[in-house]
């Protein structure tokens, strides 16, 4: 769907992109760490096995999901420009655009916050 000046409208599902990116990120980092610790660290000595491979995996996952957020934020930002708020369609577009943009920021902050945890843990010990 496009506006009169040819720009794309921000669709409703765009709100779901940062939400899904966060969910995917959270689930992925949790599963990677849980499976690694359960499968690789089966003995007492192995519990102290360094988590470096997990850390790198989490960095890659975080960068990938941040990229998804960036694309959604770009689409949301595009919705912010344009005609004055008095035109109803444009106003709607600005609304969805700005909420998407803010959600992307929150989602990115949450992803970075959660991923940062991996920098502080060297192994699978409690």
């Amino acid at each position: 769907m496009t506006t009169a000046d040819g720009r794309k409208n921000a669709p409703l599902w765009l709100l779901g992109v940062p939400v899904s990116a966060w969910a995917l990120h959270f689930l992925s980092v949790y599963v990677v760490a849980a499976v690694y610790c359960a499968k690789s660290a089966v003995s007492e000595s192995a519990i102290a096995t360094p988590l470096s491979s997990v850390r790198w995996s989490i960095i890659v996952i975080t960068l990938a999901t941040l990229a998804v957020d960036a694309v959604a934020a770009w689409r949301g930002h595009a919705g912010l420009k344009g005609a004055p708020a008095t035109e109803s369609r444009s106003d709607q577009n600005r609304f969805l655009g700005s909420v998407t943009l803010m959600l992307c920021a929150l989602s990115a902050a949450a992803m970075v916050g959660v991923a940062t945890v991996s920098l502080f843990f060297g192994d699978c010990r409690q």
């Binding site: 409703l12 969910a23 980092v29 709607q92 909420v99 803010m102 949450a110 945890v117 843990f121």
Partner: protein, 838 residues
């Protein structure tokens, strides 16, 4: 008066008479067949209020028992039943249903819709709630109540508590969870598709955003618990060892499934109450809310982040530190969107002209109490602190600050605020203020010292303590406070229940609010708004000058009910353009009968009376089919109708234009989430075991699962073909395709079941055969439901109730089969392929 004016007045009166007749409540005992949101919403509220009082009495019993050391007021077992039921009742029978009650009552008014899109579904949900609630609560009078804590942890509830209590909890509350999911479906569609024309997403009242977010959360949070309930009940009834460590099961899986539900549940309770505050605060600040977009962001943000917190209830279960760290971080981050909402309310109050009314008093109390609860939440989210305070009374104090501050205070405020909408009368200002101070003071006297009781080491869920423990004074203080709260609640109850016949009626829009629910006449008419307005602002009563007058004069949409039918307008999800004039069903006992029969299934299953379960199951299925047959996808007498303002709208919409299609889609999202939870169980076992699937136990093999998948895929293809043939009006091809689909699906079920049967997988021997059987049975039951739907479509076409152009039924059934195909393919991939991969 001129002749034209007289004729206009006469026409208006005739229109009103027709509207009144169409939307009237049935008289006498038939009143309980009413399905209007204004009736069902009030019943729901009354039901939740009753359960609040019941849970409150249980709380008083707890506090009486703990008032002094070595007390024998309650025995240990009675105490276990009382605190288990207190938590369960307050969470499942008060807090969540209260959201549904307020939303069912208010949502149509807020968006100027005539009713919710599926009024009979609301009634069905209400009766499920009442039956399930009465069953669970009644058990305590027979000394048979659940007594394993509101979270039912195994192995306590499997290996140790063999009595019926846990079954009552699992089956009774599962039944209520179905009602919650039904309400979520109804409310999500109500928000997205039934708003007044012009009410774009950016204009809808904030409460609607909260309803939307919480509805989606219910769809994703309740199914994991339903999956867990099924597994726990099967373990109890048939000895399948899902949570039995000796046979490969793991009690921690229950904790994961429970808290994946349990933590979002806290926000499912909290967010709607914030939504109510978002309606109250602007009214009493007499200005639009500050930061509308920020509040929307916060509601959505809290909604999704709340799914990343569940392990903070499991910090002491021995998970790796890094995993705990993830959940600790997420638990801290959620404070950001939560705080934004509170700051937006404070900013609105500061920017406006505050009227310090009773609702505002409760709103202020709510913010103060909730902020304290939030701060102790931040403390508990820190792992080392939680290790010290876990399972102590500190946690009891924290959760009551969040739930009573975040929910009870806003709800009492909202009750004072919205009472005129419900009854046309105002509640007493004086009683409201006195009750507030009783409850506020009593609450803090009860729960503030309880932080200290917990830090001093008093554990939760113990029925007594010794004098030497040093908890005496603090406990006595908490008990005194609890009785002060009870006195406040008694005042609230008396004020709500006292006859108000002689009270003067409330003026219309008594608080000078700006949103559409205050269009209502006092006392209200069953039709809601006299005509459905065209909306162009967030606060139409403040910002659209002649709106109320035009609505009353019938100058907007649907000012009449010419055909005597109940009608409402369906609009597009984003920008609320008119797409349909929806005919909604009127009074019926069918939802009540269906709920009673379905309730009987759950109740008799508790006692393991399997034949009776089967009989009631068939009865419930028959009742639901009769309800669907006579009341859904009805073919209208004409294609379009004039709905006012020179606009016509279709009376029927198929495919994704049909609200039934949306309902099916949303329901299947919940269904798929439950299925994913079971699949999560399979991979959980794989993660925690070195050898899973165990090499000593044979799996279901490749041949039969693959055959099943192929046959069911063919049945799916034939169903799609049947839909297309019907659309092209080829009845013979439709019937042949559908019959072939039924036969193929039946063969597919047989093939799926043949896998574990052929390899002699005994589900009681080890968790591996148990989880494989559960996945196969889940898929098989879904295929059988799909077959019933196919046969239903065949019958509808034969009976002339479904045609080439009026084809809602086959559209919805095809959608079901799309989801079914995903379920079957994933099942087969997991049970047949994964063992080889691993």
């Amino acid at each position: 008066m001129t002749a034209t004016a007289t004729s206009d007045e006469t026409r208006k009166r005739e229109q009103e008479a027709r509207l009144r007749a169409a939307w009237a409540f049935p008289k006498g005992w038939r009143y309980f067949s009413a399905v209007n949101n204004s009736a069902v919403g009030v019943w729901y509220l009354a039901g939740t209020f009753f359960f609040l009082l019941f849970g409150g009495v249980l709380a008083m019993l707890i506090r009486t028992q703990l008032a002094v050391p070595d007390n024998d007021f309650l025995s240990a077992d009675a105490y276990n039943q009382v605190f288990t039921l207190h938590g369960s009742v307050m969470m499942f029978l008060f807090a969540v249903p209260l959201f549904e009650a307020f939303a069912i009552l208010l949502l149509p008014q807020l968006v100027a819709s005539r009713d919710l899109p599926f009024p009979r579904l609301s009634a069905f949900g209400f009766f499920c709630f009442v039956i399930g609630g009465a069953f669970v609560c009644g058990s305590i009078f027979f000394d048979a109540a659940p007594h394993g804590g509101w979270f039912m942890y195994p192995p306590l509830t499997t290996a140790i508590q063999k009595d019926i209590g846990a079954d009552v909890w699992l089956l009774g509350l599962s039944f209520i969870e179905i009602a919650s999911i039904a309400a979520a479906v109804e409310l999500i569609i109500g928000v997205l598709k039934c708003r007044a024309p012009g009410m774009r997403l950016s204009l809808m009242p904030l409460f609607c955003w909260y309803v939307l977010v919480v509805g989606i959360m219910i769809l994703l949070a309740f199914p994991p618990l339903i999956a867990g309930d099924i597994m726990l009940e099967i373990e109890r009834a048939f000895d399948w060892p899902f949570f039995d460590a000796a046979r490969g099961g793991d009690p921690l899986l229950w904790q994961h499934l429970f808290w994946i539900f349990g933590h979002p549940e806290v926000y499912i309770i909290f967010l709607p109450a914030v939504g109510l505050l978002a309606m109250i605060v602007p009214t009493f600040a007499q200005r639009p809310i500050v930061g509308y977009r920020w509040i929307v962001l916060s509601a959505v943000g809290v909604g999704f982040l709340s799914f990343g917190l569940w392990v903070h209830h499991m910090y002491t279960t021995g998970l790796p530190g890094i995993s705990l760290g993830f959940f600790s971080a997420a638990s801290e981050i959620i404070a950001i969107p939560t705080g934004i909402q509170i700051f937006a309310f404070i900013a609105t109050v500061l920017a406006g002209r505050l009227i310090f009314s009773v609702p505002m008093l409760y709103a202020t109390g709510a913010l103060a109490v909730f902020v304290i609860g939030g701060l102790t939440g931040v403390m508990l989210a820190i792992v080392p602190f939680d290790w010290q305070a876990h399972d102590s009374h500190f946690v009891v104090a924290h959760l009551h600050y969040t739930l009573i501050g975040g929910m009870l205070f806003p709800v009492i405020g909202a009750t004072w605020y919205y009472f005129p909408v419900m009854t046309g009368k105002l509640l007493s200002d004086k009683v409201g203020r006195v009750a507030f101070w009783f409850i506020f003071a009593g609450f803090n006297v009860t729960f503030l010292p309880m932080h200290l009781t917990g830090l001093l080491g008093m554990p939760r869920r113990v029925f007594t303590y010794q004098s030497s423990d040093g908890f005496d004074t603090l406990n006595m203080l908490s008990t005194v406070g609890a009785f002060v709260i009870a006195a406040g609640m008694l005042l609230v109850s008396i004020e709500l229940l006292r006859p108000k016949g002689k009270d003067p009626g409330s003026p219309r829009n008594p608080w000078n609010a700006g949103t559409l629910e205050w269009l209502q006449l006092m006392p209200g008419e069953n039709w809601g708004a006299r005509s459905v307005p065209q909306v162009s602002t967030r606060y139409p009563l403040w910002e659209q000058e002649t709106l109320m007058e035009d609505v009353d004069a019938g100058r907007f949409y649907l000012p009449d009910a010419e055909e005597g039918k109940r009608e409402t307008i369906v609009t597009t999800a984003v920008d609320a353009r008119i797409v349909q004039c929806l005919r909604v069903p009127g009074p019926s006992f069918k939802p009540m009968i269906a709920a009673a029969l379905a309730g009987a299934v759950f109740i008799v299953a508790t006692f393991h009376w399997w034949w009776a379960t089967l009989v009631f199951g068939i009865g419930a299925a028959g009742a639901i089919l009769a309800w669907l047959w006579t009341g859904t996808a009805l073919i209208p007498e004409k294609e379009r109708k004039h709905i006012g303002l020179d606009t016509t709208a279709p009376l029927y919409a198929s495919g994704s234009g049909s609200l039934g299609w949306w309902a099916m889609f949303i329901t299947m999202i919940a269904d798929l989430t439950a299925f994913v939870s079971i699949v999560f169980g399979y991979f959980f076992y794989w993660t925690v075991h070195e050898d899973f699937p165990p090499s000593s136990i044979e799996g279901p093999g490749m041949r039969w699962p693959l055959t099943g998948a192929m046959l069911i895929s063919a049945a799916w293809g034939l169903t799609c073909l049947a839909r297309n043939r019907n659309r092209r009006d080829h009845p013979l091809a439709f019937h042949v395709s559908m019959l072939l689909a039924v036969a193929t699906a039946g063969a597919g079920v047989a093939a799926l079941l043949a896998g574990p049967l052929a390899y002699g997988m005994d589900p009681t021997r080890h968790v591996y055969p148990a989880i494989v059987w559960l996945l196969v049975l889940w898929a098989a039951v879904h295929v059988l439901l799909g077959v019933i739907m196919q046969l239903y479509c065949l019958a509808r076409r034969l009976a002339g109730r479904m045609t080439a152009s009026y084809d809602i039924d086959i559209g919805n059934v095809t959608l079901y089969w799309h989801f079914l195909l995903i379920t079957v393919l994933v099942t087969v991939a997991v049970i047949a392929f994964f063992p080889d991969l691993s």
